[in-house]
Assembly symmetry: C2
Homo-oligomer: 487 residues x 2
């Protein structure tokens, strides 16, 4: 690693003019070992933790861990002639590419569809495509992709049944931006409203309440991970004087649980909140899968909801994170009113916006269409059931929510195994999210390895299934106590 | 265009199961004419407008303009066999690519360096690279590029003179995210602090104050666009009881003005704000150019500043928007404390984060190094002076701030010309931002066209230079009244 003192001196030289900057030599040993990095105790992608919070916070605060780092080094004056620099960088990239292939192969824990082919779009990487600002207001900056973006937005507005002249939306950078936007719209509609969200909501929902200085009430959940509407009712009745802004999960992060939208609406109405509520649907993953599941309750703007967001890099698959946000046009006008400082409507969270993401989405939607997605959803659900059944056959407690392709099971004892398969863990449980790129073959490799390794994690090879009844319910648990009843 | 009623019915079918979905036919005439789109009256990338605000707001509110849109259509059942769909999409992309080449050629108004070659990185587009969460806390998701990100962050921390173990930062999605982050950190350090920003600050600064429910005081500017520290002092003294959070512009959006950081700090101290202030430096464009300008006042963490952000897609050049945010590690601990719901440090605004952007930045920093940037900065400043001089020679009022490559001049009367050269306009003025890809040859073509066209914009060919003294100062104005003194 380049010492920061030495490097700072080099910067100092460079600042002064044309001084002959002596570049730091390239590190002799090329530092590149992501495996050596410590895994987070809990993963940032996951929602709220339990008792572990304090422990892990104590670990990460006040540190700035350079677990693995590829230094930027100053080129030598003669680098251009010798070509040494180019060779060095090509070798870095080749090694990196190889590690990505490997990592992509062993990936099960995150809801990212890694199966895409955007070769036809490689030609566009040469352009700085930027959809700055509002997708419906043309900018003078010509190198944009608004025509693709609006096409994609129209598709989603149709999916969620909002007329073309009544919706507003944009393509975001990720699921978090969608939640930040939906909750901000809710707050602008009801400035004194209280934010309600189940405790298994994505962490960005709670981040929003803090950022926006909103009162936030956490609602309990059922063992499935769904919002507990009895608790919701109790909390609503305690705060009857203030409007309600509700985050409804269409697939929670950890358990893939789908909140019962109809029951949430009924609870609000029963508690006397008629017309005094705003619902944001966080459809990060399942918002796009659910429309293709026959029995699923429908997410639609024909119901009194205010906004829906989904991620684009999850079920659709995209080289970089992105998302889609759709809301009612009337709310955007609320958001944009009284903004004295702005010359034009400023309704997005971000300013400059990635213009490549809309093209990736447009390309996939056009190629696959409703029919294509439907087939993939069915494949995912089928494979998820296969995984759950095979886990249970092996005596491992596992849960799969009805509308979900997220299989939850006991957390493997070996952190190296967890890392290798990139499982997202929380407390005692881990999960696999079955995406279109997760085949039966891949699941079999995983299952066989899990069963084989598991037998070595216990003393004397005597496997003792841990009790995960509190996490996934007694009927799904395979511990000594619950086994007989469960499986 | 696909009628939304018809389309909604098609969705309905698809929802029900395997019904034979009749796809809408492809539109006969392929709608693709970005030129036909109306230009915004004021551009979203720009800062606060003046008298035009109300007018343009009235125009954009309550509408959802589908100026140009490439519909997503359902593939026909036999598309796979006929290859028609593939051919259609290839033709869309080819046309789009051609339009991008054209648009990129005639681009002067936005501070984006369009001159980059990331061919070596095309191989990475096949991967879903995601640096979710904190760059210094490893995630179990293996397909990330944290090792590149941390390398880039180290480089910027060195540039701004903050020790490796004392900084925290991340690669953002754009300049706005940097400002949102810096101001949020300021608010968490001083929860009751007042946000001060000059009226020529980027609109995201004012958006932040609204989002975060912070009191915001707008400070006047000099004709150069710099913050007026006399006005700043007056406003500080009116609010002595509350801490101050200040946004300092290292290059304003419209005039490229650099606020005098040293004078801002002195003013704070003179007003008795010692230890009760937080400074965020919005270095969107010039934050990266200034270190290479000899006479420029230094942006450094050796001064009492809290955070600095720059855009990555501007001076460096990148296919998609991105930015770099650096702050003091101690502040991040403030931000992360008392977050009961999180299992781990959650200090970024976004959750899932684009893992490609860090690799683009790493690649360019490694290839160009300090020396390379220095050369490019000098070229930009030289070419900006050339443009300003040539404009003045032609009798056109123009201003160029000393540390800037943004040339401000009278707004061309013809909107088509403005669109063709993608000039960013505000009120009576337009600007050209001279980036590394803007050559003397390109400037000559622009200048010749401007001078030639300009002679046709006035009745009888009698050019009357408008008075822009209020915008850029009497000494830079070329109107009848100020001409003699000015040029």
């Amino acid at each position: 690693m380049v010492g920061s003192v030495v490097a700072a001196a080099a910067v100092g030289d460079a600042l002064e003019g044309f001084g002959n900057v002596k570049a730091d030599p390239l590190p002799e040993e090329f530092v590149f070992d992501p495996e050596a990095a410590p895994a987070a105790l809990n993963d940032a992608e996951n929602g709220a933790g339990g008792a572990e919070d304090e422990r892990s916070k104590a670990v990460v605060l006040g540190r700035n861990v350079h677990a693995s780092c590829l230094d930027v080094t100053e080129p030598d004056a003669d680098d251009e002639e010798t070509g040494e620099r180019e060779a060095y960088m090509a070798s870095v990239l080749a090694k990196y590419r190889k590690s990505l292939v490997e990592k992509t192969k062993h990936h099960l824990g995150y809801p990212y569809n890694l199966d895409f082919d955007y070769g036809a779009l490689a030609q566009l990487q040469h352009f700085s495509i930027n959809n700055l600002g509002d997708p419906f207001i043309e900018s003078n900056y010509g190198v944009h992709s608004r025509q693709f973006e609006v096409g994609v937005l129209d598709w989603f507005a149709r999916l969620w049944e909002l007329e073309k002249d009544q919706y507003w939306g944009y393509i975001t950078n990720c699921g978090t931006e969608g939640n930040l936007h939906g909750i901000l719209v809710g707050r602008e509609v009801f400035p004194d409203g209280i934010l309600y969200a189940s405790k298994e909501s994505h962490y960005s929902v709670f981040k929003a309440s803090r950022m926006y200085r909103m009162e936030c009430v956490k609602v309990g959940t059922l063992v499935t991970g769904e919002i507990d509407c009895a608790d919701f009712e109790k909390k609503l009745l305690e705060n009857k004087e203030k409007a309600a802004i509700i985050n409804v999960n269409i697939g929670t992060t950890v358990k893939g649980a789908v909140d019962d939208l109809d029951l949430v609406i009924k609870t609000l109405e029963n508690c006397g909140f008629k017309d005094r509520f705003y619902i944001h649907c966080d459809g990060a993953l399942f918002g796009l899968m659910m429309p293709f599941v026959k029995r699923a309750p429908k997410v639609t703007f024909k119901k009194p909801i205010g906004s829906v967001s989904v991620s684009g890099h999850k079920f659709v698959g995209c080289p970089m994170p992105c998302g889609v946000q759709i809301t009612r046009l009337e709310h955007i006008n609320t958001l944009s009113r009284n903004v004295e400082y702005l010359a034009s409507r400023d309704a997005t969270i971000m300013g400059s916006r990635n213009g490549h993401a809309p093209i990736f989405l447009w390309y996939t939607l056009n190629r696959k269409g409703y029919r294509g997605f439907q087939k993939e959803v069915q494949k995912c659900l089928r494979n998820a059931h296969y995984l759950k059944d095979r886990l249970r056959d092996a005596g491992i407690g596992a849960m799969l929510n009805e509308l979900s392709s997220t299989v939850v099971f006991e957390r493997p004892l070996d952190e190296e195994f967890v890392r290798r398969w990139q499982l997202a863990c929380q407390g005692n449980i881990a999960h696999v999210v079955v995406m279109p790129n997760v085949t039966i073959e891949k699941l079999d490799v995983f299952l066989n390895e899990l069963v084989q390794k598991r037998s070595t994690w216990y003393p004397d090879g005597k496997v003792q299934s841990p009790c995960v009844a509190a996490d996934i319910g007694e009927e799904n648990c395979a511990c000594v106590l619950h086994k007989s009843r469960a499986i």
